[in-house]
Amino acid sequence: MSKNPYKTTAAIIYDIVEESPTIRTLRLRPEQPITFKTGQFMEVTVPGIGEGPFTPSSSHYVSEVMDMTIMKAGFVTEYIHKAKVGDRIGLRGPYGKGYPLDKFKGKDVLIMGGGVGMAPTRSLFLTLLHDINDYNSVTFLAGARTPADMIYKDQVAEWRKIPKVKFLRSVDKVPEGETWDEDVCLVTKLLTKISIEPRNNPVIVCGPPVMMKFGTFDLLKYGYAPADIYLSMEKKMYCGIGQCRHCVIGPYFACKDGPVFTYEQIKDEENIWE
């Protein structure tokens, strides 16, 4: 009999970074190193409770440890947010197809990440930084609801020092008592602040459904081709192995054929933004 695909690898939480009131990054050390391609996802198990699909937020050049940035949004993540340093969780995967880095080589890469959608895109970003000379430029547009919701705050200053990298951030609003000296607008509006040639260059989008939808429309207006817009689709990837069918997008399985799709691939499918 082949290896049971539901079997998990134990991982110890060796550090926790509280990124925002609802988002934390678990820093994990799996018992065996886990290699993955950036954009692929893992099933994270809270033993005896349940599991959910999460994309690592660390570079795929690191396999000894792995970061998972997770928002408290439901039953399983509730438990993940109660976890303490030293606790063990289970990992299985990686699943799905990663970002097609080969197609990004030599290009001006644009990344748009909103809220916890910055997690998979940080993995991509860090992976691109590792081989920065292979790319013409890397631009990251990051968005969050409020300054308090903005994640990876303490790393941005370092990233901005890197040549060929541009990192713009915006928040939707600044509540009283919070300060913010960068843009206040929807993340998609940051497109007006950059001057990337949209033709034949890739853009990668990950964020809440509403941002994915209107972000895509704005990118099309900006001049990006549907085949150059890469979307990380948030679907219910329950099993991760094309078995449970919960993540089906028309003829595709988000877990096997995605979770990254080009807009060209799925534009005619239904309710893709929901």
Partner: protein, 348 residues
């Protein structure tokens, strides 16, 4: 080949009673004591008659291979050697879909695989048709062309025409020959078999004449959504249709703590309930009942063909039979497809 019926039934009984061929279980359709129109799969215990000549059982063959809730971690296998007698063409075709879904390069369901391996299936042509039967509308027929190890066709009151479909079937035949007289078939026998098949097929076609359609299933997708709202009016979202469907295998994972440690079960899920595809953030691709209702039709006629190269509907008609809202699957397909066509030609 032709085989005498009473001797054959006796052989099946001895397979159960004396474990002939190493079989630990013989499973066959059993007549419901409460309803003479209802047959259901049951392990033969010696106190009821086989009814293998009629139409399909109420419950799909799938449940004998992949049941409602089973442990997957730690992985289980089921190595009991079983003989299933009386499988119908619709259920055998459904196993093709399940084989592709549950035994593939990405994933093997160990329980399903072990049961497939350890089960010998004797198919029997349909001699009767249920009111909801419609395999002829979905590229099928009331007799199996593949998927069986052995297949039987009713010739007359005393004899079956017998056909071997696999090595496992040949093995069973070799065993059978020691206990039952099997004769070579004549050309007349073959003709009788074909005539009998044509006769039942003709009855089925007549039954489904009003539901005939041009199989351009893309129309289901392009049809006006308001049509689906109408069709789904009496759907209460109970999921009975998916639970009884021979090709539905969607699962949900249950993590639990047991005495022996952490365990994981898979249990049947249904795309007819709202929680099915809803993600933790709250987004849901099909929040409305008619959208989920429509999803089942698209899954059978579009998604499964695209995933597996096979139609997801084998025409057993169980979904219509079980429906609490009295929704007739064939009618829905027919109405939506004719509505869709009108729309298309209007566009031209």
């Amino acid at each position: 080949m032709i085989i005498e019926k009473t001797g054959l039934y006796d052989f099946f009984r001895r397979c159960q009673a004396e474990s002939l061929g190493g079989f630990r279980q013989v499973i066959a359709p059993r007549l419901s004591p409460k309803n003479p129109n209802v047959l259901f799969w049951d392990k033969w215990q010696g106190d009821w008659e086989f009814v293998i000549d009629s139409y399909r059982t109420v419950d799909p063959l799938r449940i004998l291979f992949y049941s409602a809730r089973e442990r997957i971690l730690p992985a289980q296998t089921d190595n009991e050697k079983r003989l299933i007698v009386g499988a119908k063409a619709c259920d055998l075709r459904a196993l093709n879909v399940l084989d592709k879904a549950l035994i593939n390069t990405d994933f093997v369901d160990p329980l399903y695989e072990s049961r497939r391996k350890n089960t010998t299936i004797v198919g029997v042509d349909c001699n009767e048709i249920a009111p909801t039967c419609h395999c002829n509308l979905v590229e099928g027929a009331p007799y199996a062309k593949q998927g069986f190890d052995l297949n039987l066709t009713n010739l007359d009151a005393n004899y079956y025409f017998l056909e071997v479909g696999s090595a496992k079937g040949q093995e069973l035949l070799d065993l059978m020959q020691k206990y039952v007289k099997i004769n070579r078939s004549s050309e007349d026998d073959l003709n009788t078999r074909n005539e009998n098949r044509q006769a039942i097929e003709k009855r089925l076609k007549l039954q489904n004449k009003q539901y005939e359609r041009d199989p351009q299933y893309e129309t289901l997708r392009t049809a006006d959504l308001t049509k689906w709202v109408d069709e789904a009016y009496t759907c209460c979202g109970c999921g009975g249709c998916t639970n009884i469907c021979p090709t539905c295998y969607c699962l949900i994972l249950n993590d639990e703590t047991a005495a022996e440690g952490f365990i994981k079960d898979r249990s049947a899920d249904t795309c007819q309930i709202h929680g099915y595809a809803r993600v933790a953030g709250g987004a849901s691709p099909r929040p409305k009942m008619y959208e989920r209702f429509r999803n089942r039709y698209l899954c059978k006629f579009r998604y499964m063909p695209s995933n597996f190269g096979l139609l997801g509907c084998t025409g057993c008609g169980r979904c219509s039979e079980v429906c609490a809202g009295k929704i007739e699957f064939r009618e829905v397909v027919k109405r939506i497809m004719s509505a869709g066509k009108v729309k298309e030609s209007a566009n031209v």
